[in-house]
């Protein structure tokens, strides 16, 4: 065990994967000698050579196109998109190519070895283009897996699992936590399961569901509600696609109430899918409407970032509303 922040845990996972398998290659804008603008890939070029860790030209569609080809060839690319906000030029390569590669070839070819890493999310005074949470855009895309860790321990275990998973994985890192989240991380190799939510805390009155950096928000709200005598169950979804509807449904059947929190705008956010599925699965158990506490339906603002964010206070108020329904 060692104390690591989230970035260090990712760096550690990359080293573990690259040591184990020489087919793992890490690349993207500034990831080479410099180690990435956040330094997640620090020292990898020194350790593993320029062939396996390198800068690419500044083209996201090229990075993912290249990574698709490299994965189809049999290597295990770990491509970095410098900010989640800049993943959209690669949207076609991801949605039309990565996700459909195996299906369209009847399983003859696949890019299952591909992992795409990208920092996402707000709370860092980044405004429009350094704050977005684009997970829902990808969650409508059969063939992709989407994984989001909430702390260093999760980050290492889930990233290792993502790199080794034989399906393309979009691994989204809450950049707000890069240095802020620090915890014990095993130095050994380990994996955490993809597709499984984690019940962080059991409770009986309401289920609070989130992922990534918003976990600490719902935890804080739960603490506030606890003082009012509310017992909240807290779940980290961890995988957005495929998502663990069983765990969520089971919890909701017990608590009778569900609140989902995410940073992305409300409309068409992934909370909508969860709400739609759970209202169907748990119809007779629900004691109040499923509540969504999300970003506003605006581009991500700067001056009003604090007001925009689905913070613990908004969550706490929504818990109260749900319980009083």
């Amino acid at each position: 065990m060692a104390k690591m922040n989230l970035l260090q845990a990712i760096n550690n996972a990359l080293i573990t994967a690259m040591e184990e398998n020489e087919k793992v290659m890490v690349f993207g804008e500034d990831v080479g000698h410099f180690g990435g603008v956040f330094r997640a890939t620090s020292n990898l070029q020194e350790k593993f050579g320029k062939g396996r860790c390198f800068n690419t030209p500044l083209t996201e569609q090229g990075i993912i196109g290249f990574a698709n080809g490299l994965a189809a060839q049999g290597s295990s690319p770990v491509a970095e998109i410098q900010f989640g906000d800049y993943i959209f030029p690669a949207f076609d390569q991801i949605v039309n190519e990565t996700a459909k590669w195996r299906y369209r070839s009847g399983g003859q070819f696949s890019v299952g070895t591909l992992t795409i890493r990208t920092p996402y999310g707000g709370g860092i005074a980044g405004g429009h283009y350094h704050s977005q949470s684009p997970e829902a855009y990808f969650a409508h895309t059969p063939g992709m897996k989407i994984v989001i860790p909430r702390n260093p321990y999760q980050a290492k275990g889930l990233l290792l699992a993502s790199i080794r998973d034989d399906n393309p994985v979009l691994f989204m890192e809450p950049k707000k936590l890069y240095r802020a989240s620090v915890g014990e991380v095993p130095e050994d190799d380990y994996e955490l399961p993809i597709g499984k939510a984690e019940v962080i805390k059991e409770g009986k009155d309401i289920t609070l569901l989130a992922w990534g950096a918003q976990i600490e928000i719902i935890e804080k709200a739960a603490e506030m509600a606890e003082k009012d005598g509310v017992s909240a169950e807290i779940i980290d979804l961890r995988s957005i696609l495929p998502w663990d509807a069983d765990t969520v449904a089971e919890s909701v059947m017990k608590t009778g109430r569900l609140l989902i929190n995410h940073e992305a705008p409300l409309t068409g956010g992934f909370a909508s899918e969860i709400a739609a599925t759970i209202q169907e699965r748990c119809f007779l158990y629900l004691e109040a409407p499923i509540s969504r506490v999300c970003g506003l339906d605006t581009p991500y603002p700067l001056a009003h970032e604090k007001e925009y964010m689905p913070d613990h206070l908004k969550t706490y108020e929504a818990i109260k509303r749900t319980l009083q329904y």
């Binding site: 080809g69 039309n96 399983g107 003859q108 070819f109």
Partner: protein, 397 residues
């Protein structure tokens, strides 16, 4: 940390020099004149009799296939087809200059390459009829071939996407250190996509052994090359990327073969990309959904029909004593029959069983897909007559 001076190789001028395309003038390699006689100045590539015959065979085969399948589409037997007619030399001779271990990533009009590699009539048909024998499992429209054994990547419709992919594939080949390159085919229209730019630039910077083979056939559906770009074709772009470039007469088997051979040598030896622009013409309609009379003249087509690559190759082979008109006529007739027979046989083959609908989305179907399949099967069994292609075999295997 070495000093990198981005001015190191830049000369200087003191007057405002506006550089225009005039500076560049990329000539087109032609070895056989249109009548099939070699140019005196040309050093023909070494092409043995067997290879020459194989090339001609593949060229004639795809011409036959094109005719037959356009017919089949008109009869409503298949939904869609897209012919290679006029571009047989470009797509066949280039493939002939490769090794079997080289990966082919194509656009969609490269059945010549596939036929040369040995894709059988049955395989063509299985794909086009989307049946259960097709290893691609009938998931895409006709002409989206793909075959792992032949190192021919399954085709994808979105244009240009295969270009940066080919760079990545070739990078992987380089890292493995095998004697293998990737060839990436695309049209001059697809070369307008951003992916073209990304793919060529990345290949150049990352030293990927990939041959970019552009078929400049003058049209992208109805859009003439003159409305596609204003520069000197696609070849002139190679220079901008620092990619070695060859422009070739795409209707000249010899020239295409020589150019591709040279390109492969360079790619392997120097571990770098090479761009080939093959100047040719899409004699066919864009696809069976298209009618070119709306956007080009008969005369233009006739002019190009006279440059038929198959006729040129035949003429040259005749001069070598490698071609016999009569024997060939029989071969072609046999091809026609074979294609027709295979078509008739294969069109009766079933579509894949319904279970396949959820397979290959992931390596193994997750819970939600299993649930969706279960529900779907229950539904089909309630209304079997409405889903006649699959209801008869709901219990697989």
């Amino acid at each position: 940390m070495h000093d990198r001076n981005h001015l190191a190789n830049v000369g200087m001028t003191h007057e405002v020099n506006v550089i225009t395309n005039g500076l560049l003038d990329i000539p087109m390699l032609q070895m056989l004149a249109e009548d099939g006689t070699p140019h005196k100045e040309a050093t023909l590539p070494e092409l043995d009799e067997k290879t020459a015959k194989d090339i001609l065979h593949a060229m004639q085969y795809v011409r036959v296939l094109d005719e037959r399948m356009i017919g089949a589409q008109r009869q409503g037997r298949i939904s869609f087809y897209l012919a290679c007619t006029g571009e047989e030399a470009a797509t066949t001779a280039s493939a002939a200059a490769l090794k079997p271990q080289d990966m082919i990533m194509s656009q969609y009009r490269e059945q010549g390459a596939l036929a040369y590699r040995g894709y059988t009539t049955e395989q063509f048909m299985n794909q086009m009829f989307s049946n259960e024998k097709d290893p691609n499992k009938g998931r895409q429209m006709p002409i989206h071939y793909g075959d792992k054994a032949l190192n021919f990547m399954t085709i994808s419709s979105p244009l240009g996407t295969q270009i940066p992919q080919a760079s990545g594939y070739a990078y992987g080949q380089k890292m493995e250190g095998t004697d293998a390159v990737t060839i990436c085919y695309f049209g001059e229209g697809a070369a307008s996509e951003g992916d073209f730019h990304a793919g060529l630039n990345m290949a150049a910077v990352l030293n990927c052994p990939v041959i970019f083979f552009c078929r400049n056939n003058g049209y992208a559906i109805s859009t003439p090359a003159s409305e596609q770009f204003a520069g000197d074709g696609i070849a002139s772009r190679g220079i901008g990327y620092g990619v070695k470039t060859i422009r070739v007469d795409g209707n000249d088997v010899m020239a295409v073969y020589a150019a591709t051979q040279t390109a492969r040598e360079i790619a392997v030896k120097e571990q770098c990309p090479v761009l080939i622009e093959a100047m040719t013409y899409r004699l066919a309609a864009h696809s069976t959904s298209d009618d070119p009379t709306g956007y080009r003249s008969r005369e233009e087509e006739e002019k190009w029909r006279a440059k038929d690559p198959i006729a040129r190759m035949k003429a040259w082979m005749t001069a070598q004593g490698w071609f016999d008109e009569e024997a060939n006529a029989k071969v072609v007739e046999k091809m026609r029959e074979d294609v027709l027979n295979e078509l008739k046989r294969v069109e009766k083959v079933d579509v894949p069983v319904i279970d396949e609908i959820i397979e290959d989305v992931y390596d193994t179907p997750p819970w939600h897909l299993k649930a969706q399949l279960k529900e779907l099967k229950e539904h089909i069994s309630k209304y079997p007559e409405h889903y006649p292609k699959t209801s008869g075999r709901l219990n697989r295997g």
